[in-house]
Amino acid sequence: MRFASNWLLISLLLLSFIIRLLPVDFPNLTGEEARISYRGYTLAKYGTDELGRRFPLIFNGLDDYHLPAVSYITMIGVMLFGKTDLGVRIPFVLIGTLVVFLTFAVAKFFDAGFLFRIISAFLVASSPALIFSSKTPNETIVLVFIFMLLFYLLVNSKNLWLIILTMLAATLTSKLAWFILLPFTFYIIWLFKLRRGILILSLGVVITTLAVLPFLTIPQAKRSLLENNFPIFSNSTIKNGIDTLRGQGMKEGWPDIVSRLLFNKSHFLFVGLLHWLSHFNPTIYFGQFDPNGKMGYSYLGGWVKFLLIPFILGLVTIFKKGDRKLKLILVLFLIFTYPTFFIYPKVSIEAITLIFPFMAIIIAFGFVQIMEFSKKAALLGIFLIIFELAINICNISPEFKSTNWIRPSWVEAPILDIVNFSKDNKTAISDDIIFDISPFIYWYSPFDLANNHLIDMDFPYKLRQTRIGKILIVGSENNFYNCALDEPTSILASKRDLAKVKKWLNLTYEMAVKKNIRIILITTQHIFLIQPYA
């Protein structure tokens, strides 16, 4: 029996690994993932990040600073498998697979039965959201893994050093962890009435402080926190809304005191609260996890649709029959997501994903109920899970099309063109061909581009690169001008810039199309015009 159980678990882990790994080049990377991938490569090869800094602890991204864990994990993959899709993805595939195993391990604290534990693990293995986030370099799956590991270590009262290391890893992975780590640790200690609680919590406070304080010394740290972790306070739409609605009341003759009572800064509280609760919208979990396709399949929820039924059944079972621990595990949902209170109006997919392994435990309870009711119904359920997952994973063409902008699959070929062309020529590329173009240039370049973009500041915030080697990245603010004879320039133009060029050169788009060639040489102007791709 034990032998069979072990084989079942091993098979599940193997299957999880394969689903997460294949196809190895899907999904295409986003700009931020390409940046991390290239960074992993430069760290592995030169010991520097993409800006030339030697083994830094804080990296730069388009939207915010990056904490170090993900970049160094990527570095390990590149060291083993080179600057390839496999190299940058495999560490996360492994981490995603380990989450499946950890769910199996953690589930025993709620129900020791093998069936329950293997169902929990199977659910995590088949969660579209967790599969997707295991396929690219990103913080989310690492954080899911760390919190599951921490839960296991805490409850199992394992080695204190391991607990400390796990806490440290959390604080080095994502800023979100800074907010969650202490309440999470406190809650688990309280819920399971753990020994050494005060010691562990004190260590947590020290570790979090050690992570946050150095960050705060960075000149733009406060801005980074305000814009990315507390945007609700700088959101002008709420303030303007309060003023507008209050003003309308005053115009209509409502007493000033009533208007002030009804429309005041407490609205920030209500808006934040509702925004937090909006992270429990069932659509996210069972309908469409991330419509943008950035953190999940565009046409799948965090779980396949069928699992809505066992989830409801699981909740009902827990409320009706569950013990204190099971009921109170629901509080974890609130702990993981409470930072979203401040992240208005953005939906924090990262925070939601943290819930998933614990949600799997609830769904597993429901699933066991279905099995007890009818084995055929449970088999049908398993079939529906596999069926929905299979038709979405096997037919990825709609996914490619719908994420064309944020995960462009087509961009590699034109970038290779422009990079090769830039070896001997000055070259330009429009920055709106795709979202966040510069990391793609680095990543797809077959050779290492000369980095003449080293910056004066140690920690530039929201760095937008405008030049990579000989390639100029053209923004909407740039204008075109006649090149001198000795500086011919080519441009990979978007529609926006092609319109500008056309206006300036008096060249019609039809002329360009008629030529039906990729590169149009306009010798009189010393301009090479490459046909637009977007």
């Binding site: 609605l245 659509t283 309908g287 709609p398």
Partner: protein, 554 residues
């Protein structure tokens, strides 16, 4: 006896509260009749005066409207109210408000029957009396309110029959109530039969044991529905409405279908239908979004999250408590299943239409949410009463806090409803079409032709619909005459009656008209295009005082 008296007193107080909030300034708020209201009102007057609708159909079963067809119940009942009370804007809202009040005792009786707990029933009735969606929809012409009222009575009668040895009277009453429901609102044609099937399955023992007793009322119900069934089969117009609002009309779904296209026909068929199923499922689940339900679902403002949902914000914790209470409540398994099925089926019409959210199609579920919240309020009060030890002070402070919170939340809703909603959304009820209609009638004798181009907008342009109804209704134009005069014209968007032409204005051509009054918005004729500004004899404004239309004298 004393307990009964206090319950009666409480339910009367709740009903009085419901009457107050539904009838207070009913004629003035909403600030104008919307196009649905004015079309139904004029049709009702037409029926009352001539027996025909404005298109000349004699006592129709279905009323053609603007790009739409209306079920008959509301128009006929308004005709009746018109005959009793006479005309006036408020006439069209009366039926809705009356049913909006009647639904309060209906919820009380239904909940009492279902959960056999009069305190939960009282709480549910209280929440129904002050729920934003109830007040909002009761103060405008809204067929679904009557529909929900009859559904509640129908199921109350069914439950009553089950509790009274299959009383024939109750069974027949339920058949009548359900029958009437089907004529009130189109979406009930789908949801009610499904709900009845689910109810029959849940309480199958009763129906099997009393098969003979239930068959006759069931036949009576089917006979009651025969005209409707015949109409649906024979008249494609009845299906037109459901086709035009079905989820497949959604542009986002269209895009998803495009993305999923393949060269293989069989695969293409599969992926297309998969896209529809995925999209519909998402839309359906989205109807349960917390932000929609408690923050901005009624779409009162343009200020994002600062708005009003169908339910009061303060109700949220009680809804959660109510769900937990019902889940953990011992017994009542069938009743709990029925509550769940009601909630699941009730959201189908809203979930399967192309609009992102359509609260008017989900009223049935919101009503159930009030009942569940009532259970939550009850369970909370019960827990509070059981508090012991050093928490006695909380027994007084918490209820006081809750009453204050309800008060502030209600005041917030009233502010939104009476102030912010008209300011921010007057365009969507076609304000100021009433003023325009009244003005053109005051100028009727001075012009040979009066042209009205209803393209207008506060922020962006839209085509106002039903302008001819506004003109006819506010001019007290005899429906009998309108039935003969009304026709389509040759110019773009043109409808004509009497000396009125409602159409697109083409200024380079129309500027040369003589002895004509043109009502046009700046979207069609910018102020700079009018050379002689003295020809602008009147300006009409939106409720927020932005310019909406000019009257140009030629």
């Amino acid at each position: 006896m004393r307990e009964l008296t206090s319950k009666i007193f409480l339910i009367i107080a709740i009903i009085v509260l419901g009457i107050l909030v539904r009838f207070f300034k009913l004629a003035d708020f909403p600030v104008q009749l919307n196009h649905d209201e004015v079309t139904q009102l004029y049709d009702a007057i037409s029926i009352a005066q001539t027996g025909k609708d404005i298109y000349g159909n004699f006592l129709p079963f279905i009323f053609p409207s603007i790009g739409d067809f209306k079920p008959p119940f509301y128009t006929y009942i308004t005709s009746l109210l018109y005959l009793i009370f006479g005309g006036g804007d408020v006439t069209i809202r009366l039926a809705s408000s009356i049913f909006g009040v009647l639904i309060i005792p209906a919820v009380y009786i239904f909940t009492s029957r279902l959960l056999k707990n009069s305190i939960i029933a009282l709480s549910a009735a209280f929440l129904t009396s002050i729920a934003p969606f109830e007040i909002f929809f009761s103060r405008k012409s809204f067929e679904n309110g009557a529909g929900i009222f009859f559904i509640l009575l129908g199921f109350t009668s069914l439950l009553s029959a089950m509790q009274n040895k299959a009383s024939a009277k109750s069974l027949y009453l339920s058949a009548i109530f359900f029958g009437v429901t089907m004529y009130t609102y189109f979406s009930h044609i789908i949801t009610l039969p499904l709900l009845l099937i689910a109810f029959t399955l849940i309480y199958k023992e009763f129906f099997l044991v009393n098969l003979k007793k239930t068959l006759l009322p069931l036949s009576f119900f089917v006979i009651f529905l025969l005209p409707l069934i015949i109409l649906i089969i024979t008249n494609p117009n009845t299906r037109f409405r459901s086709q035009t609002v079905f989820v497949t009309q959604d542009v986002n779904l269209g895009r998803n279908i495009d993305y999923s296209k393949t060269d293989n026909q069989i695969l293409d068929f599969f992926t297309k239908n998969k896209a529809i199923v995925d999209f519909s499922f998402n839309k359906y689940l989205d109807q349960f979004s917390v932000t929609y339900l408690f923050s901005n679902g009624l779409d009162f403002t343009n200020q994002g999250s600062l708005g009003v949902g169908p339910l009061l914000f303060i109700q949220l914790p009680f809804l959660v408590l109510g769900i937990i209470y019902l889940v953990t409540l011992k017994g009542f398994n069938r009743e709990k299943k029925f509550v769940l099925v009601w909630t699941i089926l009730g959201m189908i019409p809203s979930g399967l239409t192309f609009e992102s959210h359509s609260p008017h199609r989900s009223v049935m579920v919101f009503t159930m949410f009030n009942i569940i919240s009532g259970a939550g309020l009850y369970s909370f009060c019960k827990s509070l009463r059981n508090l012991q030890g050093n928490y006695q002070i909380l027994k007084k402070l918490i209820p006081a806090g809750i009453v204050i919170a309800f008060g502030i939340n209600l005041l917030y809703f009233f502010h939104m409803y009476f102030v912010n909603f008209p300011y921010e959304k007057s365009q969507y009820i076609q304000y100021p079409f009433k003023q325009i209609a009244q003005y053109v009638w005051s100028q009727y004798d001075n012009f040979d032709v009066i042209i009205f181009d209803p393209k207008f907008g506060d922020v962006s342009p839209m085509i106002g619909v039903g302008a001819h109804y506004y003109l006819a209704y506010y001019g007290n134009y005899p429906p009998a005459k309108f039935q003969k005069e009304y026709r389509l014209g040759n110019k773009p968007r043109e409808t004509i009656f009497d000396k009125f032409s409602i159409r697109e204005v083409y200024w380079p051509e129309d500027r040369s008209l003589k002895n004509a009054l043109i009502i046009v918005s700046p979207w069609t004729v910018p102020l700079n295009d009018i050379e002689d500004k003295s020809k602008i004899v009147k300006t009409f404004y939106f409720y927020n005082n932005k310019k909406a239309f000019y009257a140009i004298k030629l």
